[in-house]
Amino acid sequence: MSNIVGIEYNRVTNTSSNDFPGFSKDLDGAWDVEKFKNTFDVKISSLNDREANFDLIHIDTSIANAFRRIMVSEVPSVAVEYVYFFNNTSVIQDEVLAHRIGLVPLKVDPDMLSWIDTSLPEEEKFTDENTIVLTLNVKCTKNPDAPKDATDPEILYRSSSVYARDLKFEPQGKQVETFAKCPVVAADPNILLAKLRPGQEISLRAHCILGVGNDHAKFSPVCTASYRLMPHINITQPITGEDAKKFAKCFSEGVIGIDSNGQAVVKDARHDTVSREVLRHEEFNGKVKLGRVRDHFIFNVESSGAMTPEEIFFKSVRILKNKAEYLKNCPIS
């Protein structure tokens, strides 16, 4: 059976995998480690500390999707959870400011913290092992040096805007040593938190703890982690001349090339967005078949800044492995 998902004019066909036992008489379909080892392939196309793009080839949809889901919602990360206000005379309300601070991605290795015990009373809950304390103390004042004709509040006043970089890390207990090399900062320093005017003041203390995206989106370590299937273009009848140019225009740039005979050829299907534009044109009717390779996943993992994307991916693999192991060890009675 074909492993190409059919992209037709108004429907998608052959979406489910069929390599499982009992699907057909001829094929065994049973999963085989050796076979998997031989066929499975990982290709990395780009990688930096914020974004990774890589292919997982010949892997079942369920596994690929599990990685995606775990990256989004189960890989732990650190975010502000409790905000204690001492003073807030700005126009922004306490709850809203707390919400905004909570959503700021922090550059903390989640492995340096342990989980919080929610059953403990408030006073004992937070220790130097599970909590990071950030403080924010800003007061807006008039800028005496501002030129008379200035209208821009950034010039007229001092600290009229509060940014994520104003959150100051206060190491507690042994954190002085453990975090000496990597003090906690916001991953993106220029996130606007609040605006102030002279006389207004914000003074607060925030407790950051470990959490998962399942609980709140702020704990998700990725901006998004997702995949798409490898596009597949099959030109069944030769397309030449003007038609070939028009044909090439129906795809993203660089996907279709024209060879020396003036015939359209698939140059780079990977970059296609599969807009199905080609299917709208009468003249290409029956000349091309669009599809996507069902077991070729092009992953795109965008980190929110705490960890590198590969770290996030490996963590997701580890979590999946742990889950499988847990299931395996479950006494099934």
Binding site: R11, V12, T13, T61, Q93, T224, R228, S275
Partner: protein
């Protein structure tokens, strides 16, 4: 025209597009060097119009007219106060002013509006009059006597916000986008709604075909009285009918009474020389002849004998007749020196209209025609009220003066000024009371109108704006006639075609369209003179014979003459108007069926500006628009140059108006400025409304007012009873030109949600929506409620007063739980959380407030704290302490609640598609596209086929194109971004032409088998939230009288098992359930019944039998016991006969 400006050029994003910006040399990417295309750019007249007129200009104009002009007229009409006792005495009002004295050039200080709102005061200014009166022999002038205070309409010319720039507004804590046009009375914002009514002093001809009745009626309205005169047919004979005349008067007699004695002249006046009219009318002479009435005196006596009067001194029958004709019949025509000629003409013309309608049933008028309606605005209503109050004031004043002057020997010469101030409160309190209650009671018209004013709804910016353009009809809601409710073709461009409520007020409550103006009264006299100069023959000199030979000229419904060449006259008149010699709001039109030219100068007509077209060419040309863009020309200049003119409904009906420039031919007289102005401000929010089924647009108009968003720039400074605010409102991706014009993009109410139109989870049936949990986590649909509590610390006559206690502490010095959010001053502290049961104002009242004990030392107090009761805690946002107008301490506490969307919260798109949240799904379970984009909302596709909201689909495609392109797109009615262009952008950016994407299931990871319509749609969160509605009870409070559970959520009531539910249980046969629901869980009560006498006793003792022998305990509903006792009290003895159900 060289280059067609495409819509693309309008799309450059600009952050701040104020009106100034709109009129800047470079507007929305349109540079001065760019070619001006009149077809595309003439819409720029609209922002120019709104800059000078604004959306609530009708209210402001009307109020300004009242304060500046009408007040002076009222003073003049009621100028003199005379004494019955002293004929020498007089007091004369010379002048009247509001807000400033004549002696100083500066305006008086008035408490700014926002302070009035906060301190529950009335935003008002003093009314000063200049008077002249006699003191003994001397005549004394006195200036600047304050006779009361006038509530001031915000942003009117007496308001301190008039012409204030943004900086001043900010300083006064006002929102620069607030339209004004309302009053602040006792701290609440009140709007006087525009009232629609049938026009006054105009003849309306109607026919009842079933009863074969034709009638012409006219409602005369003067400063003194209102009355209605009819000319009516009865058995093919014509009569004059008036409420104060007991019987219908044959028309010939009525005309004879008016001095037209000759039958020939009557015939000439009514029928002219048209034989078919003469045939119809001839029968009427019989009756007069039979009654032997030939002379005017006989006719007057005939009428005089039928007059119903309540007069002090008896008049002779003849005098009664003269009085009736002179003052009561057609009262708006004034009779001078007993010359009834004009009145005779008027009655004759009314008769003629009746005859015409009898001859040709088509010659009747349409009551529902917008040209026959007049709108009554705040200024007119205020002036009616003020005149009434002023008359009452003068009457009281006169009574006072008489009282003093009656006393024979006065030591000093009496100064009338001393008694003027005594009653000065009457006018202020009368005005205040009327505006704050909405009850307009006018003694002289015996008018009692309720519900004239409404509290300005501040639910959203749009709801406030919508209220200012609202028009309420005087028509009864209960009557089952469809006419007044139906959409009238003549309301095109004047009244919004979509914005009307559903249900009982449907079609009766209307809204003004975007580019309308409501006229104020204009002087009649100069126009009359002008008409005579233009060749109109004066009616007073026309002989009866030639009256109907030429066209008649009517001024405000009254004939003033005839004209030989009406077309030339009308053209000339219009020319004068276009050149600015005559006020631009005076309308003139020809009615060829009636052979008449009508000129209207009265107030309350709706009109709108149109581009003048002559000789098949629009007068507005490219260079004019260029100058407009450059700021050289203003809208008023266009009027002055005669390029644009105002047409009222009647004149509009007499014109040929081209919708687009391409439709112009030689016959065309006018050109529309912009077709989307058929809609009002609220309907203007809808993108692509011309693609929607029309009721959907109407639904959106109702829902747009419930959307939570930003209300005003001063929203955090306001302390309103209840305010809903959205935390992160966004301007819509798909805007309309209206949105920019009304500044909805600066005070939006909604967010651009990425929507996937697909079915998901089954929790999306019946319009329910699926929401993405992560989107909510990140702030989608978050809102805030702010609730106010007001307390007044009262002072009592015995010098005790309410106090605020401190907080109570426990043995550790910590405040007790109830007082946790209190500060040491006994008031909640800003920022503290208040939970249900906690106290946030710790007030105490003296136990003894009535005794006249002057010792305050050992006053006893009883605690009456304000306790917070709600399912969810709140935070204290603001605490205000102030002093109200009557010097009592006023405390307002504002409680705030932050809410994230939850199951059951209501959302709606801008296309009348509302739905509640059915399920909240985690992000990883949501479908995603190639880029990893996950929808915020999943909407069920079943919402589309029956609703036919195609506009919503186009909004999605335009929005998606805008997102990909980095532009804001337009969905303006009859225009906007073109679908083909939008689809092309999608294709260029690598998306499918149709807006449908291939998605992957978030649950299985596989591709979905169908392509999903996917993109941004602007969603509004509506004020209906589960948190405010959820209610359940197991046990709880009971009503005192019946001991049954209380009713309603606010009283923590029970859920009633009603009659129909009871029927079900009976039918099912579940008798024990019935017993439990109806008695045991409700008001079960154990009574002692005496089985001998059947009455109820107590404590095992029957009081009537004086024995305990036959007492049986049984349980009955308390309500039943109550009924028995109540029957007993009425001398009916219900006796219970008890038997065992199960025989032993």
């Amino acid at each position: 025209m060289a280059k067609v400006a495409t819509d693309f050029e309008f799309k450059h994003h600009e952050e701040d597009a104020t009106f100034g910006e709109l009129l800047k040399p470079v507007y929305r990417g349109k540079k001065l060097t760019d070619e001006i295309n009149t077809a595309e750019d003439k819409w720029n007249l609209l922002p120019a119009f709104l800059k000078v007129k604004g959306l609530v200009k009708q209210h402001l104009d009307s109020f300004n007219y009242f304060v500046d002009t009408d007040l002076k007229k009222i003073i003049k009409a009621n100028q003199l106060v005379l004494s019955d006792v002293d004929p020498e005495f007089y007091l004369k009002y010379v002048d009247i002013r509001v807000g400033h004295r004549s002696t100083s050039s500066t305006k008086d200080y008035i408490v700014p509006p926002h302070e009035c709102r906060l301190r529950d005061m009335t935003y008002s200014a003093p009314i000063y009059v200049d008077i002249e009166y006699t003191r003994g022999r001397n005549i004394i002038m006195h200036r600047d006597v304050e006779i009361g205070r006038m509530p001031i309409m915000l942003r009117s010319n007496k308001c301190i916000l008039n012409n204030a720039d943004e900086k001043v507004m900010a300083k006064l804590n006002e929102c620069p986008l607030d339209p004004g046009g309302y009053f602040i009375v006792n701290g609440t914002e009140k709007v006087i709604l525009v009232q629609e009514q049938l026009s006054k002093n105009r003849i309306i001809v109607e026919a009842d075909e079933k009863k074969a009745i034709v009638q012409a009626s006219v409602t005369s309205s003067t400063h003194e009285r209102k009355s209605k005169t009819y000319v009516i047919t009865k058995n093919d004979r014509i009569y004059l009918k008036h409420n104060s005349i007991a019987e219908e008067v044959p028309i010939v007699i009525a005309l004879k009474a008016c001095g037209v004695v000759s039958d020939l002249e009557i015939m000439q006046l009514v029928c002219g020389n048209d034989s078919s009219y003469q045939d119809i009318f001839a029968v009427n002479f019989e009756e007069a002849a039979r009654s032997k009435i030939y002379t005017q005196q006989q006719a007057l006596e005939y009428i005089g004998s039928k007059v119903k009067t309540v007069r002090r001194q008896k008049l002779s029958i003849l005098q009664e007749g003269i009085e009736a004709i002179a003052t009561t019949v057609i009262a708006h025509l004034t009779v001078e020196a007993l010359d009834f000629r004009e009145k005779a003409m008027y009655v004759a013309l009314m008769t003629r209209r009746v005859v015409m309608a009898m001859f040709d049933p088509k010659m009747v008028d349409d009551r529902d025609y917008v040209g026959n309606k007049r709108l009554e605005l705040a200024g007119q209503l205020m002036s009616l009220l003020f005149e009434d109050l002023f008359k009452k004031f003068n009457n009281d004043f006169k009574a006072n003066i008489d009282k003093v002057l009656k006393k024979p020997n006065r030591a000093m010469e009496y100064d009338a000024l001393l008694s003027i101030n005594v009653h000065s409160n009457n006018i202020s309190s009368g005005l205040n009371r009327a505006i704050s209650t909405g009850n307009w009671s006018l003694k002289r018209f015996k008018m009692e109108r309720a519900g004239v004013t409404h509290v300005l709804s501040r639910l959203s910016y749009i709801s406030a704006l919508g209220m200012m353009t609202r028009i309420s009809s005087q028509f009864e809601k209960s009557r089952k006639v469809s006419g007044p409710r139906a959409l009238q073709p003549s309301q095109f461009g004047m009244l919004c075609t979509s914005d009307t409520p559903e249900g009982e007020a449907c079609g009766l409550v209307k809204n003004l369209a975007l580019m309308t103006h409501i006229t104020t009264d204009d002087e009649e006299e100069p126009i009359k003179k002008l008409c005579y100069l233009l060749g109109v023959e004066d009616i007073t000199v026309i002989d009866s014979y030639s009256l109907h030979l030429n066209y008649a000229v009517y001024l405000n419904g009254t004939i003033i003459g005839t004209i030989r060449f009406p077309t030339k006259f009308v053209t000339l008149f219009r020319h004068l108007r276009r050149t600015g010699k005559v006020s631009e709001f005076i309308s003139i039109y020809t009615n060829s069926h009636q052979k008449a030219v009508h000129i209207a100068t009265d107030g309350g007509r709706i009109c709108r500006p149109l581009i003048v077209v002559t000789g098949g060419k629009s007068l507005v040309e490219a260079h004019h628009l260029k100058k407009l863009l450059e700021g050289e020309l203003q809208f008023d200049d266009f009027l002055k140059l005669g390029l644009v003119e105002y047409l009222d409904v009647n004149e509009e009906n007499d014109s040929f108006i081209a919708l687009y420039e391409k439709d112009i031919d030689v016959n065309i007289t006018h050109l529309e400025i912009e077709p989307f102005t058929v809609l009002g401000a609220v309907a203007g929010l809808i993108p692509y409304p011309h693609h929607n089924q029309s009721p959907r647009n109407t639904y959106q108009c109702a829902m747009g007012k419930q959307a939570i968003g930003a209300i005003a720039y001063n929203q955090f400074k306001r302390i309103d009873t209840l305010l809903y605010l959205m935390i992160y409102p966004q301007q819509p991706m798909v805007k309309t030109k209206t949105i920019e014009l009304i500044d909805y993009d600066k005070l939006p109410a909604g967010q651009n949600a990425t929507v996937a139109v697909m079915s998901y989870s089954g929790y999306d049936i019946e319009d329910a929506l699926v929401l993405n949990k992560s989107s909510i986590d990140r702030g989608f649909g978050r809102c805030e409620t702010r609730k106010k509590t007001t307390t007044i610390l009262k002072r009592y006559p015995n010098h005790t007063q309410d106090i605020i206690g401190g907080m109570r502490v426990d043995e550790n010095g910590e405040p007790i739980w109830q007082h946790k959010s209190l500060g040491p001053d006994g008031l909640g502290e800003v920022g503290m959380k208040v939970e249900s049961g906690q106290i946030y104002i710790n007030k105490s009242v003296p136990t003894n407030a009535s005794d006249s004990v002057l010792t305050q030392t050992n006053a006893q107090y009883r605690e009456t704290p304000v306790v917070y009761r709600a399912p969810e805690p709140s935070h204290i946002d603001q605490v205000m302490m102030s002093v109200s107008e009557n010097d009592q301490a006023l405390i307002k506490v504002l409680l705030r609640q932050n809410r994230r969307p939850e199951l059951g919260d209501k959302f709606s798109s801008r296309h009348g598609q509302k739905g509640v949240c059915g399920i909240i799904v985690k992000q990883e379970d949501m479908p995603f596209n190639d880029d990893g984009v996950v929808p915020d909302i999943i909407m069920n596709p079943h919402g589309f086929p029956s609703r036919m909201t195609v506009g919503k689909m186009i909004e999605l495609i335009s929005g998606k194109a805008g997102v990909l392109n980095g532009t804001l797109e337009y969905g303006t009615c009859f225009g906007g971004s073109k679908l083909e262009e939008m689809s092309q952008i999608l294709v260029d950016k690598g998306f499918n032409y149709s807006g449908k994407d291939m998605l992957y299931s978030g649950i299985t990871g596989e591709c979905l088998e169908a392509y999903i319509f996917f993109g941004p749609i602007y969603y509004q969160k509506l004020k209906h939230m589960v948190l405010d509605k959820m209610h359940a009870r197991a046990r709880g409070p009971r009503a005192v009288l019946t001991r049954q559970p209380t009713e309603g959520r606010s009283r923590d009531g029970g859920l009633r098992l009603g009659e129909m539910e009871r029927d079900c249980v009976i039918a099912y046969g579940a008798s024990q359930l019935l017993l439990e629901r109806l008695m045991i869980s409700s008001d079960a009560f154990e009574v002692d019944v005496c089985n001998k006498c059947g009455l109820m006793g107590y404590s095992g003792w029957c009081t009537s039998c004086k024995s305990a022998e036959n007492i049986i305990k049984m349980t009955i509903p308390y309500a039943a016991k109550l009924l028995f006792q109540e029957l007993l009290s009425m001398n009916i003895a219900p006796r219970l006969r008890l038997d065992d159900v199960f025989e032993q």
